[in-house]
């Protein structure tokens, strides 16, 4: 089955062509079958490849496709790499992807009161792009050289652009200001970007990251002369002695690409605005798969990063800071999807912290579990939106648990996993990261634990406001209803995965094998395992202690949230009033968007206008080019004035000519 791995890409592309060309004519039912079917087929092939790989004990296999380009020393042969890491990603992408496709078949169909289904006007186009995304993600994950990774990198960027801007004709929406009660002046919130604008913002910010990635790839080719992973990684140890600086530069440049794609500190601004896209898109692209591409890239190039300790530490620091930063913003968000968006940025920070300190397996483990419970949470939020006619502002929800039991229950499971409640999948993966972070530096661990607490708090703040307490908008509450079978199916499966996900990486002291670690071991074997991430440096007691602290912090977060929003809702308002400046700062997302707009966007446009009118139209065009033409015109006019029309002048001119000639000849 491994040799057929290219089918995993071929199926979605077939889906793209089918839905793209015929979808509009064949109606939404056919499209809603073809779309998910293609992804399921890929999943099946993925599982087949997984089985083969198990039989081969994780030994990588290259499936060559065709020679892309061969110019002198630049030789790129497209081929797919089937090894533990890529199969894991394939399973995650196609598995979660399939569930989200099924979910979307119902989500994109609006039911009016009479139960009559109105599919979205561009139903076929939605599934075409969704399949295109799966195909691009698989290209990124399965490619066996940096060029294919870059190709996938850009393709997923374009797909996210197309899908965020799916409802391209919707204008930007104003957000109602937050009232803090007792006559305090309500806090104004910035408007939400329109889908078209946020799509473009996402693409351009990604592109800024891609520039770094591209330069990294060029540097790799310039130093190693090849782009194939295997060849590059084999030369890395020798290069580490020869030119360590180049290696760090490569690692840094590739990480800039990861920053853009996985929304880390400087380039994260596009992810919250990406929520303007339909919720399945947010779930698939902005939670489970695309944003994890950065983590995958670092884990794939673990050999480079383990030989560039400086940059790895930088990665870890960026990850930790992003985690904390995003968590603080999530505390005050009023839009359910934006709470989850900042939570994703924060969790990605965790993953980068893990891979930064060399705990690649922990990073991948958290990536996998995060894919499950974050997709679940997003789909839950989508189910709520679907029921409340696209209202996502939690201040208008309340008491939905009795109206939407399944969504409420699955949302709880997702919330617990995200918060890191003991025995949930999130707990194991986050705890492993914190353990490894503690090994690297207690400061990182401190930030991690603090963020874990905040995560628990804001997750359950949203749950309690939305599902518990009294309904705040009676009209909406009456209309709320549980979602249809497709949505519930997806929610339940994902909830199950979120529950059992932990089994992939049980801690060593339980005696059970750490499944993921043994599974991913081969990909580290290529480069000797520099960081001693494999065996535990910590004593058993210390590890138990760490696990206990992270568990208590999670539970504490939940209890505080319960106390704040269910027992005595007035408290958060009073706190907000007293800490007003902090609250306003968080509500406006530290004014980062406004900062970027003022520093990059506006000056860029002003420079563009300056160049267009000033330099181009004025300086070069009218002054130099047309100016030259006018100059020639003037010279012409001046010379013509010599023809005065008076004979005397002509006679005089002739006379002077004669005089000169005579003078010259006679006096020579």
């Amino acid at each position: 089955m491994t040799q057929l791995i290219w089918l995993t890409i071929a199926f979605p592309i077939a889906g793209v062509l089918f839905n793209g060309l015929l979808g509009r004519r064949l109606g939404h039912r056919v499209v809603s079958v073809v779309g998910p079917l293609m992804v399921l087929a890929s999943f099946v092939v993925g599982v087949g490849a997984f089985a083969d790989l198990l039989a081969r004990h994780g030994e990588a296999v290259n499936v060559p496709l065709w020679t892309w380009a061969a110019i002198g020393s630049f030789e790129v042969n497209l081929s797919l790499l089937v090894d533990p890491l890529s199969v894991l990603m394939v399973l995650v992408v196609t598995g979660v992807g399939f569930l989200i496709h099924v979910y979307a078949t119902e989500y994109m169909v609006h039911k009016d009161e009479s139960g009559h289904a109105h599919p979205d006007r561009d139903f076929a186009r939605f599934f075409t792009f969704l399949n295109l995304f799966i195909a691009s993600m698989l290209v990124l994950v399965l490619g066996n050289n940096y060029l294919m990774m870059y190709v996938g990198w850009e393709l997923v960027g374009v797909c996210s652009y197309l899908l965020i801007g799916f409802w391209y004709d919707r204008p930007s929406e104003e957000q109602a200001p937050i009232d803090l009660g007792e006559g305090a002046e309500p806090v104004k919130l910035p408007p939400l970007l329109s889908p078209a604008a946020s799509g473009m913002k996402a693409f351009i910010v990604n592109r800024v990251g891609d520039v770094g990635f591209a330069l990294g790839v060029f540097l790799i080719w310039t130093t190693f002369g090849t782009l194939q992973f295997a060849d590059v990684f084999s030369q890395v140890p020798h290069m580490a002695e020869a030119m360590p600086a180049v290696l760090s530069w490569i690692a840094l440049l590739l990480f800039i690409g990861a920053m853009g794609k996985s929304a880390q500190i400087p380039l994260y601004v596009w992810l919250p605005d990406a929520m303007a896209g339909p919720t399945p898109v947010s779930a698939l692209i902005h939670a489970a798969t695309m944003v994890t591409a950065g983590v995958y890239m670092i884990v794939r190039s673990n050999v480079i990063y383990s030989h560039a300790p400086g940059v790895s530490m930088f990665v870890a620091v960026i990850g930790a800071v992003t985690a904390l930063f995003a968590a603080t913003i999530a505390l005050v968000q009023v839009d359910l999807k934006r709470v989850l968006a900042y939570s994703t940025v924060s969790q990605l920070g965790y993953m980068f912290m893990a891979v930064g300190v060399g705990a690649y397996t922990a990073g991948m483990f958290h990536l996998t579990t995060h894919a499950f419970f974050k997709a679940l949470l997003f789909l839950g939020a989508g189910s709520v939106m679907h029921a409340l006619h696209d209202v996502i502002d939690i201040r208008r929800m309340g008491g939905l648990k009795n109206k939407m039991p399944v969504t409420w229950l699955t949302f709880w499971i997702g919330g617990l996993a995200l918060a890191g409640f003991p025995l949930m999948s999130g707990f194991f993966s986050k705890d492993e990261i914190l353990a490894k972070a503690f090994e690297a530096s207690p400061v990182l661990w401190g930030i991690g634990v603090l963020t874990a607490g905040l995560t628990a708090f804001y997750t359950f703040r949203a749950i309690f406001i939305a599902f518990h307490g009294q309904p705040r908008d009676r009209h909406l509450y009456d209309h709320a209803h549980e979602s249809g079978p497709a949505i519930r199916f997806a929610l339940v499966v994902l909830a199950a995965l979120a529950l059992v996900g932990g089994v992939l990486g049980l801690p060593a002291f339980l005696g059970l094998p750490h499944a993921l670690d043994s599974w991913l071991a081969p990909i580290y074997a290529t480069g000797e395992h520099a960081a001693a991430a494999g065996e535990h440096g910590l004593s058993l007691g210390l590890e138990l202690g760490l696990m206990a602290t992270s568990a208590t912090v999670a539970v504490l977060g939940i209890v505080v949230a319960y106390f704040f929003y269910v027992v005595n809702p007035a408290i958060p308002r009073r706190m907000a009033r007293s800490l007003r400046p902090v609250f306003v700062l968080l509500a406006n997302k530290y004014y980062v968007d406004e900062l970027y707009n003022a520093v990059f966007v506006q000056p860029g446009l002003k420079l563009a206008r300056g160049m267009a009118q000033g330099v181009d139209a004025l300086l070069i065009d009218s002054v130099l080019v047309d100016g030259l033409a006018r100059l020639v015109g003037q010279i012409g006019r001046q010379v013509s004035r010599l023809q005065t029309g008076y004979l005397r002048h002509y006679a005089l001119a002739t006379f002077i000519g004669v005089l000169i000639l005579v003078g010259y000849f006679f006096l020579r």
Binding site: W68, I71, Y168, P171, M200, V211, M611
Partner: protein, 492 residues
């Protein structure tokens, strides 16, 4: 038969013109279809060029006939890796241009079609001639039809644009003529292959001759400071005129650099490379920035051409074979994607007669098929992997990075700006709330669809299988790069 192929390519359009003369002026459709069939036949005749082209480094399909024996100037045609795909691009785009102007041009169709065919001959002549004066003859000949096309069927300020176009290019190429004469004096002949073997000019002369040639080509490319004729010409030119102007005429500049300037004066290359690379990089950033500030679709695409051609020049002077062969492929890519962008803008212009973004907005809902193709064209121009733009840009930047990483860094930053202005254009045209003024728009008809589909198919073929093209281009560019490098070593 195959050894008269190139002359056949030149003559078929002339036969077409003869046919047009016979057809009375009234039945316009007969005129249009005759012209189109001629260009189609010419395209089909040019296909064998690709199929039985042995990818060696030498000139193929050579034709030699004494033209002015006394002065040792002769009618010498030939094709090699550099010009093969440009010939195919010319014949293909001419067919596309003629087909796209069926509904756009209503008055004086006979003259219009005749000029298009003459233009095709002139352009093909430029790419296949291996004799300096023959090249110069076709180079100037290509000016006249294009100027008339802009002058007669253009927009409001068409006279200004066409006059500026002619004078700007003529001024540049006048210097080239002088240099050609000097070269002829030194070399004794104007035959390129002979000159390449026998020529040994002193270094200082090579520097000046290179300057003269490069100036003429830089005007045509257009390179940064000499580009202001392009937006004026594009905005005023009819759609088909723009397609040909952007698609082929700009390539004559870069082709000229690689065919004449670099091989004939290799010693001058290291002297001029820093300046030209800097101008190219400025062109990339500057073109993108100015494009960002445009409020008319056609002007935006025109400035995007300035930016894209900047990439090509960057590739040519990157020194390595990668940069050069990618530059040749990028010429073809730019011809196709910018040609399609102009075609799409033309489709809109024909119905709404306005080029300003403000008149459009949210039209994707009204013209879905058009929307899809426009986005594909924009993405190909932005350099989306899997399509043609990416192949050229990526490999050019790769090649340049090895030699001069600062220029490559700026160039790579250029693709961000490219994304910014092109996607802004897409957003202003297609996205956003529907502008009721466009309610009369109809989606693409069969003819337009045929053009769009054929172009998009080519985008993906080049994007996914560039090796089909590189295998023919690389030998020629390797020879070129090797010639420049050996001279530098010997010279130094």
């Amino acid at each position: 038969m195959s050894q008269f192929l190139l002359s056949a390519l030149l003559i078929i359009p002339l036969i077409g013109v003869a046919l047009l003369v016979l057809i009375p002026r009234e039945n316009k459709d007969v005129l249009r279809w005759t012209a189109f069939i001629t260009t189609l036949v010419n395209f089909l005749v040019s296909l064998p060029l690709y199929f039985n082209f042995q990818s060696g480094a030498g000139y193929q399909f050579e034709e030699f006939a004494a033209w002015i024996p006394a002065l040792n100037i002769n009618y010498h045609l030939g094709v090699d890796g550099l010009s093969l795909f440009l010939v195919l691009l010319t014949t293909f785009l001419s067919a596309v241009a003629v087909l796209s102007s069926f509904s756009a041009i209503t008055e004086q169709v006979k003259e219009y079609m005749a000029l298009m065919l003459l233009l095709e001959t002139a352009m093909l002549g430029v790419f296949v001639s291996l004799d300096l004066f023959l090249f110069y003859l076709f180079w100037e000949a290509s000016l006249i039809p294009m100027a008339l096309l802009i002058g007669r069927w253009g927009g409001e300020r068409r006279i200004y644009a066409s006059v500026k176009f002619i004078i700007y290019t003529m001024a540049g190429s006048a210097l080239m003529l002088v240099a050609a004469l000097v070269l002829y004096a030194w070399g004794g002949t104007s035959d390129l292959p002979v000159l390449l073997q026998t020529l040994d000019l002193p270094a200082w002369l090579q520097v000046w001759l290179f300057f003269a040639f490069a100036l003429a080509f830089a005007v045509k490319v257009p390179l940064f400071p000499l580009h202001t004729w392009l937006p004026a010409a594009h905005v005023e030119a009819p759609t088909a005129g723009s397609i040909i102007l952007a698609g082929v005429l700009l390539k004559m500049g870069t082709y000229g650099l690689m065919r004449f300037a670099i091989p004939l004066f290799p010693a001058a290359v290291p002297v001029w490379t820093p300046l030209l690379v800097t101008l190219a990089v400025i062109g990339i950033i500057y073109g993108a920035l100015v494009a960002l500030a445009q409020d008319a679709a056609k002007k935006l695409v025109a400035y995007s051409s300035v930016a894209h051609m900047g990439f090509i020049v960057l590739g040519i002077f990157s020194g390595g074979p990668q940069g050069m062969s990618a530059a040749v492929l990028q010429m073809v890519n730019h011809g196709l994607s910018t040609g399609m962008l102009f075609f799409m803008v033309g489709v809109l212009y024909e119905q709404r007669h306005s080029r300003l973004f403000s008149d459009y907005g949210g039209i994707w809902v009204k013209v879905p098929v058009f929307g899809v193709f426009f986005i594909l064209a924009a993405l190909s121009s932005v350099g989306l992997p899997g399509m043609n733009g990416f192949v050229g840009e990526f490999v050019i930047l790769l090649g340049t990075f090895k030699v001069n990483w600062v220029a490559a860094a700026f160039g790579t930053f250029g693709i961000v700006l490219a994304a910014w202005y092109l996607l802004t254009a897409v957003r202003k045209l297609l996205f956003g709330p529907f502008n009721p003024a466009n309610s009369g728009l109809r989606d693409m008809n069969g003819r337009e669809l045929a053009i769009a589909v054929s172009l998009v198919v080519l985008f993906f073929v080049i994007g996914l299988f560039p090796q089909l093209f590189f295998k023919h281009i690389t030998p020629a560019t390797d020879a070129l790069a090797e010639r420049v490098n050996t001279t530098i070593l010997a010279w130094r």
